[in-house]
Symmetry: C2
């Protein structure tokens, strides 16, 4: 089963920060090296969670490592991210998290107080999300061989009834819904590092999106075509992946995309597009045009979904690409994230 | 649900290497901090894998981070360990691994060649163990914030029929079986680091023990009371945990315990007991006296099980402790591993 070298298309000599940023470089690494070696010849679209059959029961499973710096920031911390991120990856794959296992890689010398705070944050986030923490593992490495702590969470979940999402089900005319303002998490992390001479009353949006996903599934069920939580790489990267996978074009209406003034200001300073900034408590959904209004109503009626909004639609043109229509009628293509302008945001 | 501070018994001010060594300090951290916060008030015995029910199907789930140094060593590498370790944790909990998800924390600047070798090693180990790699995640941290690469694997598995193991089922008179020589892995790692002025023709024992566990389950089924792969902390730590959990004494016959000369020699130099050295391809089983011979025959008839041996038995005395009877009739207590004499061996 030795994979022929020809299938390995990743030719970069070494790993750079951008390979972990969730954008184009990450995709080259995953599709060029990991997928051909680990996932066989036909990995299919690489979604947020794998679906696995055991004794006839279909289970969703997802895993993520968290290396965010700093560990604590306004609105959250690495422990909360580690639980919510995994709950959300399952949720947008159409599953309710049932159990999470966790590993810690700790740097020798880490203060117990710092560790305890994160373990508490995980317990609280898990309770809030209704998921059980079922086990774990701890490794300690020498001082200087990690940055205080890295956390890995893996969740398994039960599929929500009446919902079956896939990029292939997306059709021209479908609507793009977004659960709330974008960029809060990524910009909060940058500000928390103190690298920008900028202060803003901003908090990470980290939270479980499961209640919103459940409301959507309940109201629009089979008319929910696809969902994704736009974390690393932001809304632009998630939608570019969808456009590529479904083969249609995605058009966004710029004035509909909710961005707080402080996020917009920081993005202008940094020369970044809010569409590329990571979120930890928002999700995108593609819904049939017939069920779009009902879906939005369902989101608005659910606590935390009040700011949900229609931001665009699926069109035939330009195939495989994402474009933004500006308020003045202009039109620009938005690519996936390139490089790693904001490292270690989750 | 805030956990009262009184339940948190871990009072050490900071994390030390020993807290990741799998011995007494690890147990203090898990039982004193993680368990009360994460696993609720009644975590039960902390086994190798959690058993979770989803839609009526019982699933075993386990997770481990791997930080072994060096990445490659005679007989194996971090990638192989990461697959086999998770397959084995499921196997000794009575389950066959069905799917594994993997995360990488990579240090910026890591050579692609080194990464590719480990991804290949994982693919090969997974194929050999008959388990599918279903997904993953990659994070990159700055140069100097990790030691080349850390890998986390999480596996879910199907329970093997006809076997149900638990410390509570262990009875005085039961026999202690061991699948083969101990200490090869831990000593191989120490020698590979070149820290000892010693050379030996020794290889890590890393492998999947699933075929051996399946042979045992097939032959002795419900008479297999308990199993464990004695990794960090070695045979002594695993059996001390069992003794504590079942409340009986465990007596080992020293001359029956298979230890290669090179392992014994290195242990003498290091002042360590082979019973405390980590293994990655061996397992312990407690079997009823009636089925002990049949179980040993089944192991001997399975490739890789030729050196399986009876090393001891469960007795009423001394309750909760492990003792070793020496060839001259002497008797010594063997405790769990204390400290971290061989850091980062997995």
């Amino acid at each position: 089963m030795a994979t022929p070298a020809s299938k390995i298309k990743f030719r970069e000599p070494q790993i750079e920060m951008a390979h972990g940023a969730g954008g184009k470089a990450s995709r080259r690494l995953v599709e060029g090296l990991f997928a051909p070696l680990l996932f066989g010849s036909n990995p299919g679209p690489l979604g947020d969670a794998a679906h696995i059959q055991i004794n006839g029961t279909r289970i969703a499973m997802t895993t993520d490592s968290f290396v965010v710096n700093p560990l604590r920031f306004p609105g959250g911390s690495i422990g909360e991210l580690a639980i919510n991120g995994t709950v959300n990856d399952l949720a947008v794959s159409g599953a309710k998290a049932e159990a999470i296992v966790v590993t810690y890689v700790l740097e020798a010398g880490l203060s117990t107080e710092v560790l305890e705070a994160e373990v508490r944050a995980m317990a609280q986030a898990a309770e809030k999300a209704g998921v059980r923490i079922a086990g774990g593992d701890t490794k300690v490495v020498e001082h200087g061989k990690a940055d205080r702590m890295y956390i890995t969470t893996t969740g398994i979940g039960r599929l929500l009834p009446g919902i079956a999402i896939s990029p292939q089900s997306v059709r021209p005319g479908d609507k793009v819904l977004l659960s709330g303002p974008i960029g809060d998490h990524g910009i909060t992390i940058v500000l928390a590092r103190g690298e920008l001479d900028l202060q803003a009353d901003l908090r990470s949006d980290t939270r479980s999106v499961l209640p919103l996903v459940q409301a959507l599934a309940c109201q629009a069920g089979p008319d929910v075509r696809w969902m994704r939580d736009p974390t690393r790489g932001g809304v632009a990267t998630s939608l570019n992946e969808l456009a590529r996978d479904c083969g249609h074009g995605i058009v966004l209406f710029e004035e509909k995309i909710p961005v707080r003034d402080s996020v917009r200001g920081a993005c202008e300073l940094l020369g970044l597009d809010p569409l590329h900034i990571a979120n930890e408590g928002q999700f995108l959904a593609i819904v049939s045009p017939e069920h779009c209004d009902a879906a939005l109503h369902a989101l608005h009626a659910t606590p935390g979904g009040e700011e949900a909004v229609l931001i665009g639609e699926v069109r035939e043109q330009p195939p495989g690409m994402v474009s933004v229509i500006t308020p003045y009628g202009g039109n620009r293509l938005v690519d996936m994230l390139v490089g790693d302008p904001l490292p270690r945001i989750c």
